[in-house]
Symmetry: C2
Subunit: 447 residues, 2 copies
Amino acid sequence: MAKKQMKLGAFFMLPGHHAVAWRHPDAKADHVLNFDFIKEQALTAERGKFDMVFLADGVAAGAESKVFGQSSSVPFEPFTLLSAIAAVTKNIGIVGTVSTTYNEPFNVARKFASLDHLSNGRAGWNVVTSGGKEAASNFGLKEEPLHAQRYERAHEFVDVVKQLWDSWEDNAIVFNQETGQYADASKVHTLNYEGKYLSVGGPLNIARPVQGHPVVVQAGSSEAGKELAARTAEVIFTAWQTLEEAQDFYRDVKGRMAKYGRNPDELKIMPGVYPIVGQTLEEAETKRQQLLDLIPESLGVARLSRQLGVDLAGYPVDGPLPELPDVSQINGGKSRFQLLKDLAERENLTIRQLYQNIAGARGHREIIGTPEQIADQLEDWFDHGAADGFNIMPPVFPTGLNDFVDYVIPELQKRGLFREEYTGTTLRENLELQRPENQFSKEAVTH
Amino acid sequence: MAKKQMKLGAFFMLPGHHAVAWRHPDAKADHVLNFDFIKEQALTAERGKFDMVFLADGVAAGAESKVFGQSSSVPFEPFTLLSAIAAVTKNIGIVGTVSTTYNEPFNVARKFASLDHLSNGRAGWNVVTSGGKEAASNFGLKEEPLHAQRYERAHEFVDVVKQLWDSWEDNAIVFNQETGQYADASKVHTLNYEGKYLSVGGPLNIARPVQGHPVVVQAGSSEAGKELAARTAEVIFTAWQTLEEAQDFYRDVKGRMAKYGRNPDELKIMPGVYPIVGQTLEEAETKRQQLLDLIPESLGVARLSRQLGVDLAGYPVDGPLPELPDVSQINGGKSRFQLLKDLAERENLTIRQLYQNIAGARGHREIIGTPEQIADQLEDWFDHGAADGFNIMPPVFPTGLNDFVDYVIPELQKRGLFREEYTGTTLRENLELQRPENQFSKEAVTH
C-alpha cells in the first residue's frame, strides 16, 4: 500500500510572514499590490504541487495601532485576488478567508459558488468571526460583538451557506433547447431559514458548486472554535509550538466529531509552519538573525501587546512578562493568548525574546535548517498524530517560497511523503475529502 | 481638430440578451458558467477596443416566477468573474453591478479598490438599489425597502465609498526600508461617518485605487435615479426607444449637474443598444424572426407582466394591454414601466407584439441591418445630443459579439467615430474622465 501523504497549503501573505518582511532586501515596494508578482508566486506554488493557496483576511486597517506606520497592511481583498489567481492557474486550490460577522450569507454562498465554478472545483472558504473594535466600527457597530455571539452566528451562517449551495440539485439544469425547459424547478429549493441571527429565503442564484460544497476551512482553536470545526470544518489551520500540544489538539478535535456523525478522516488538521531553509544549518540561522534584526523594538512590543491583549509598553523589554489575566477574561484571540502565555512560561522568556520568537511565525511553529532537517521536522509531526499536513508560511516572498518548492518539496517527495503530480482535478479530490451529498435531494429520496 | 469619438461598452449577459438566447443554436449548455468561454468573449471585446465589459446583477434566483424553469438565471457573481477577466486582459475596462441595499460600504469600497489595483486602473462600479421581495427575503427582510429609502441609502452609500477610497492619500505609502517607515500615518484618514442609514469608521485597509476612484456608473432613470446620477455618476447606462426620449433624458440629466458643481462632460450617457447585424437587411430580419420564434407565449407574457409589475395572464395575448395604474403607484422599475406603457400606446401594440418587441432588448433600442445601417443609427443619436456612446447588448454570444466587432466596429472606425487603439491605460483615461482629487488631501491644503 502506498504511504500516506501529507497535505500542504501555501499561505500567501505579501510581502511575507515575518513581522517586517517588507524591510527585507528581497521585498520590493510593489510586491503587495502587484498582481503580476503574485501570479508568479501562485505559479511557483502550483509547480510545487501545493494543495492550495491560502489567504488570511481582516476588515480593519489597524490605524489605531501605535505602530501603524511601521508594518504593511494594505493587501488585496481575498475574493478579487483569488478569482484572478483562479484564472491563471490550473490545479492548485484557492482558499480565502471571509468573516461570518460582517457579511451576508447569501453573498458569501454565492461568491464561493461562483469561485468554485470559475476554477472548476478548486475553491475553499476559511471561516472566521472577526474580532476587534476597529473592525466593528467599519460596519456600523460601536463595540465588537461578544466572542460567544460571534460563534453562535457563525454556526448558523455555515449552515445557511451549505443549504444555499444545496439549493440547486446537481442535475437541476436541464438545458433542453428543443422543449424550452432550462431548469427543473422541482430540483431548485427555497430554504426559508429562520434562525436567531439570520433569516434567508433562497434559492441561491447560481448552480450548485462543482465540488458540491467548496472546502470549509477554519482557524480558531478556542473551545467555541474547536466545536464549530468538529461540526462543520474539513480543514483546520492551527498554531502549535510543541508536538505534545499539537497531538492533544489533534486528538481533542477529532474526538469531538463522532457526536456529529462525522469520521475523523473528514477533517484535515494542518498546523502553520514558518520555515527558514538553508543549504546548511548555519546559513539558515544567519537568515533567521537577519530577519530578527529588522524588527524595531517599539514594533515588537506593540505587536506582542496586541496579540496578548495586554499593553506591555511600560515594562522593561529585557525583563519577564508581567502577571497576565486568566484566559476567560479575554474576548477574542483566546487560543493565541494561551499559546503565548504558555510559551513564555515554559521557556522562561523575556519580553524581547518572546516578541522575537513570534515575530515571524506569529505564534506558529518556526522550523529551521537544511531541506533534510525541515523535512525531518514535518515528518515527525505527520507520523506522530499531530498533523495531516501543514500550512507553509514563507518569511519573505519570493525567496522563502522558492526555497521551499525547490529544496524541501523534492525531499518530501523522495521520502514518499508528498505527491509528485496532482491526482485529482478538484481541491476536494486532492485533499481526499468526499463530495457532500445534497441535503435536499437526500430528503427527496427518503420521503 | 479630431472628430469626437463615441464610447462603447460590451454588456455581457450569457448566453445572450435575448429573452431565451439559451435556446438559440449558437448557445451551448456551458456558455453560462464556463470561464474559458467568457474569457474568449472578453478577448474579442478587447480586440474590438471596447471601453469596457459591463455586467448586470441581481440578488435573487427568480424562483417565484411562474416561468422560472424556462429562462436562464444562474450566471457567475460579477466580482469573481470581473477579477478573473482582469487577470487575462490588458486594456479593457471591467464594470460590475453591486447593490447598495444588500451590502456593506466597507466591503464594496474595498473590493472595487482591490479590483482597480488588480487591473491597473480598469475598474468601474454600477450602482443599483435592488428592488424585489425575493431579493429582500435573501437578506433577512420580509418586504422590499421602499424605493425612496433605497435611494436615500444609495446617496449615503456612494458618499461613504468615495470617502473610503480617499482614506489613503496617493502618497501615503512611503516604503522606506532604511528607516522602517512603511506608511505616513498622517496621510491615512479615519472617516467616522454617521448618516441616517450608515455609520463607518475607516480608514479602508487598501491603498487608494489606481484611478483615485473606480468609475461610478448608474442605470436607474427614475426621478430619484436621475438625481443620484447627476450628483455622483460618471457613466449612465440607460434605455430609450426614440431619439426624442433619449435627447430629453440627456438634456435633463446633464442640466441637473451644475447645481452639484459638475460639468456635463464629467458624465457619459450610454444608452443600451441591441444590434442584429446582417450582410443584408434581409439577413438581419431573418435573424430577428429566428430569435422571436424561440419565445414561448407563456414566457413572453410572464416577462412582460414582471417588467410592468402588472399580471397580464388573464388577458387575450393578441388583444391590447388592460388599463394600467399610474407610475406613481409603482415601487421600483418606474422608468421601465413608463417606457413600456408609452411604447404600447404610441405604436398601438397587442400584448404579443409588445412582448416580442422587448423580448430581446428588454426595453432597450433594437437596431437591425447591415453594418453601415447599424453605424448610421448609432451615429444619428451620437451626433444629435442623445448619447455619448452606447452599451452594446448582443442577442446571443459569441456570434452577436463577433458580428459587432468584425463588421460594425470597423465601419465606425472608418467614419472616425471610434478609436483604432486604446489611448489611455486606465478606464478613466479611455472614457476621458478626470482622475478625482482626494477630498482629504484637499482639506489639508486648505487649512
